[in-house]
Amino acid sequence: MKISEIIKYTEASVVTGNPENDKDLEKGFSSDLMSDVLTLDEENILLITGLSNLQLVRTAEMADIQAVLLARGKQASPEMIELANENNLIILETPFSIYKASGILYSNGLKEVY
């Protein structure tokens, strides 16, 4: 699923990342627990989370996650935005809950990691 489709389906706004670089992501994972995210073998996935802190951006960097969707209207802090820009991480913000965002994206073809 293209980043542009994720934005459209979840009514998201783009916080960091270049919208012209419309990456195609195959799978998604929803978690507020970075410990679990760090155990994934998959790369190039969309991480849907309600956790908005610097550790989220670090976790994405280490786990080779290229796009994060902040749910429940959570907003990225200036520190997060700075680090995300350094690492070319795409951060999107959606007003939807994790449940709603995940359900919509799943039913439109974004597959599960497991």
């Binding site: 507020d32 410990s35 760090l38 155990t39 956790l51 550790q55 960097e61 280490m62």
Partner: protein, 139 residues
């Protein structure tokens, strides 16, 4: 070639946890190491950095980039680990509420380090600290 990098970590300083793994990632990229191997190394180092920030007073990450592998030694001054076997069990955690609210402390750290590295060795003395040594082969 034997490049050595050393990083200091302060206990409780979560905003700087990740700096060592980030730098190590850059070096491994420059060495053209397979991205899947890089991910294994940096996930292990990041887990170790978070452990130091979460549990210890202070610590150090030392990475030695050799010809065929990288060796990482994480030394901390802290409470130590009473029962290493128990600490290695997925789900066993002594992390504080604050650490859990940050998205960590689920008791997955040490077992995830073991999963991602070729050779994990843990030495610990209660009341003094812990030394974590692991290696990752480049191929």
């Amino acid at each position: 070639m034997a490049l050595e990098l050393v990083f200091q970590i302060e206990g409780g300083d979560f905003s700087n946890a990740g700096k060592a793994s980030s730098q190590i990632k850059k070096v491994l990229k420059q060495l053209n190491i397979d991205t899947r191997i890089i991910k294994r190394v940096v996930v292990a180092v990041y887990e170790a950095e978070v452990n130091v920030a979460a549990h210890a007073h202070r610590g150090q990450v030392k990475a030695l980039f050799g010809e065929t592998e990288v060796e990482v030694v994480v030394t901390d001054q802290g409470p130590g680990i009473e029962n290493i076997e128990q600490a290695m069990q997925p789900g066993y955690s002594t992390a504080s509420k604050e650490v859990r609210e940050m998205g960590f402390g689920a008791g997955m750290g040490l077992s995830n380090i073991a999963k991602n590295t070729d050779n994990l060795h843990i030495e610990s003395e209660v009341g003094k600290g812990t030394i974590l040594t692991f290696r990752c082969n480049y191929s």
